[in-house]
Amino acid sequence: MAKQRAIVIGGGLAGLAATMKLAEMGVEVDLVSLTPVKRSHSVCAQGGINSVNDQTRQLGDNEWSHFDDTVYGGDFLQHQPPVKEMADWAPNVIDLMDRLGVTFNRTPEGFLDRRRFGGTLFKRTAFAGATTGQQLLYALDEQVRRQEEAGLVKKYEYWDFLGPVLDDAGQCRGCVIQDLVSMEIRTLAADAVLVGSGGPGLIYGRSTMSMVCTGSAASRCFQAGVKYANGEFIQVHPTAVPGSDKLRLMSESARGEGGRVWVPRTPQDPRSPDQIPEAERYYFLEERYPAYGNLVPRDIATREIFNVCTAEGLSVESERLCVYLDLTHLPRELLDTKLGGILEIYEKFQGVDPRDVPMKIFPAVHYSMGGLWVDYDRTPEGGLMLGSPRNQQTNVPGLFAIGECDYQYHGGNRLGANSLLSCIFSGLVVAPGVVNFFNGLSSNAADLSASFFDAERQKHQEQHDSLLRRRSGKENPYLLHQELGNVMTRSATVVRHNDILREAIETVHELRDRADKCALSDTGNWTNQNVVFTKSLLDMFPLAFTILQGALARDECRGAHYKPEFAMPGIEADSPEEKRRLAEEWCDRFEANTNKWLKSTIAEYDASSREVRLSYEEVDTSLIPPRPRLYGLVGAETIEEVWKERTVKRQDGAGGNGSPAQTKDTVASQ
């Protein structure tokens, strides 16, 4: 048999971690990326990477607690074994990155410095200034360059992934790629294809994501038969700076280092912020969430900022919505050494020094918790069976997904500084599984006939040529993209309503039909960015339907998915008895909702009708039973009291953890 190879699609943290680890295990890798890998979107990650550490450990923290925060923050929608494994590995991941030369900030004694991030009360986050993603990516980029020099990695930079190549049995045998410079289309044979192509932010038009984050690679896998899970869970980051081309992230670390979010109590107070006395400032996050303050989980901070500007009319400006993110009370030296990178971004793009003047920020689409469905192999203890080929493998044999484009680690909402961890972790953990997958194969892709691959190439060549020939249409792909972004942003971000979602699905259908008539302004075959963009636009529609249909079907509030109609507000009552009664009712309702909705949305694409079909999958909550997320809820103490009593009762009765989610039936519905 010919030597087995792997293909990695995407050179961000996940793709590079997988490439580096595979190379170490002796597997040769073809690394395909739209951009030189050093310019991947991971560079935009700012704040840091989480793990339990020697200091937090002595304050009562441990791996289980990191796991618990991640699951609680994610509203229990993630299968727990992979998350537990990730939290267990986190200290080792940071140690490895430290050894690779990442310039993590240090304590005076020379240890890694840590800061606090949202959704936890511990300082778990290691960081390199405010450019942690960039530093981590560079360390992996350097190792992959080293492996490239050793002859184990071949890079295809400025190449687009057009789709996986599946054999008659439905097994992935390689992929089709296109050179963005010469427009040449070719196939690569491989025994495993690992997709680490990141998130689909461009479906929303402008977001905090980079221009390569079109979701096209994930969509092409989806259209080839890979399931897509929890698409409706899109994280809207609380703090970004609006721009005409992009919404620029303002890291959570700004709040982690003491930044405070506020609005003037007087709507659109015309005074400059430094002239507004403390008493006339409304620090709404601190007032409403005394324990977590400005560091509540992102979905909550986002909704509060959105609400304070819309429902409460307290936006700082009248023409556009924004609140203050204030660092001016912090020492300049601290700001420079710990947040320099992001403050320079604000200064460069807004022309104002945030050390002197509070920043004006507003939420923006930031991260997709959902993504390609992947499997995992569970140990009896509830961790991952390391080296199992099932880990990170999609339902298409031989096709794996890692990083942001998988759905596995963050459930309904991702905690800050957990994404860099999940990207590197999934990239490292997939490698031994791929090697074992190779060992179990009876035939190798390289032994398949050339005509098999050429037929695939031909198919894509014809699609490409027909796009170039299509000159009759009047539709403009860039303007359609703007329209798509507007519809998606209006319907499927912070607050979701069923009537608006229904309308959006109709509109997106219309947009897709119009996109079929896109005319190209460039019909040449040299560095044709027009045709590449048009292809990625066409591939946005299947994912847009997945997001919208998933959101429409899910009649509840969970993590980032918020429908006011199904919200469970807190409880208020004068007498303790009445409060108690309301809390019982609240818990009944919570249990009923858990039974009905604690399940992953699974989308499948039907190529003939071009429609998306939904079904649902049980969530493995066997390690930590689901419990209400009570951050800042009125009456939380009473609800918690009732909930604890019920948990004890259940445990006594069932002799196990007796989580209600475990007894529910799978519900399949449209």
Binding site: S40, C44, R99, T103, N105, Q143, M211, D245, F349
Partner: protein, 281 residues
């Protein structure tokens, strides 16, 4: 917010130097883009891509350019804007109009071969990182515990260098860094061409960024164990001796990396290294 230009114009005049492919003749084309508040050069190019029509009404192919993060951390969108090499994303239109209200001029950087329009091939820039072995040669990627302890001072000294995004501005400004543009011969395989190109890159100046990266890894507690290998490369053809100390690099670096400090340190290290090698003989 930035003070708005008095009486914001209705249109922004953009003049772009275009080129349909490698080694082809370049030509200027003028575009008129409707003014919007808070525009940057990326927005201008996006508007041109959406409606590629010249100022005199000719429908043309859209201008090709490279970009990704749009927040000046990926290094992709480097081009020459009003005569200065910089990133298009952080080039704010209001600021550019303050300097020259008549037009905004866009050209590809001149030290790398043009692929098309404003897109250039910067593979040489990454090749020089390979030549310099700009990485920490760890034993492997298994868990071996934490890395070496480092003082705050060491971290603060290394951090600026680790922010280098390989954008190419320092090479554009450097008088010693000259463009290399080879053409694949008809009878030459892709592999042979790549090998010939790499040899040519390696013979010529590595560039300020690669010198700075050499010093970053030579100062890393683990990286310094292989400092001699990197200094061998740095004192070979195309190494530090080519630097003419014009100090242009440090002036144009968008990340304000102390490139000349690194070059001075590298120069001293190279001298010591050469003498040491001479005694070793």
């Amino acid at each position: 917010m930035i003070d708005k230009v008095q009486d914001s114009p209705k249109f922004v005049e953009v003049r772009a130097l275009r080129q349909s492919g490698p080694q082809q003749r370049s030509f200027w084309e003028r575009f008129r883009v409707e003014y919007e508040p808070d525009m940057n050069v990326i927005t201008l190019l996006q508007r041109i891509a959406a409606r590629p029509r010249t100022a005199d009404g000719q429908d043309v192919a859209p201008v090709a350019w490279d970009c990704n993060c749009l927040e000046e951390v990926c290094g992709a969108c480097t081009m020459v804007i009003n005569g200065r090499a910089r990133q298009a994303c952080s080039a704010l239109v209001d600021r550019l109009l303050e300097d020259n209200p008549a037009e905004i001029e866009l050209r590809p950087v001149t030290k790398f071969p043009v692929i098309r329009d404003l897109m250039v091939n910067r593979s040489r820039l990454f090749r020089s990182l390979s030549k310099q072995k700009a990485w920490v040669p760890v034993d492997g990627y298994y868990d071996m515990g934490a890395g070496p302890r480092q003082s705050e001072e060491e971290q603060q000294a290394a951090y600026p260098y680790s922010q280098c995004m390989s954008c190419g501005c320092c090479m554009e400004a450097c008088p010693q860094f000259r463009k290399i543009e080879l053409v694949q011969r008809d009878d030459e395989s892709d592999e042979d061409f790549a090998a010939r190109e790499q040899a040519e890159f390696d013979r010529n100046f590595v560039g300020p960024h690669a010198i700075a990266q050499t010093m970053l890894f030579n100062q890393n507690p683990t990286g310094r164990m292989n400092a001699d290998e990197r200094l061998d490369a740095l004192t070979s053809a195309g190494g530090i001796q080519v630097c003419g100390n014009a100090q242009n690099c440090v002036a144009v670096c968008p990340k304000e990396i102390p490139l000349t400090t690194a070059i001075a340190q590298a120069g001293r290290a190279a001298t010591v290294h050469t003498i040491k090698r001479w005694f070793d003989q």
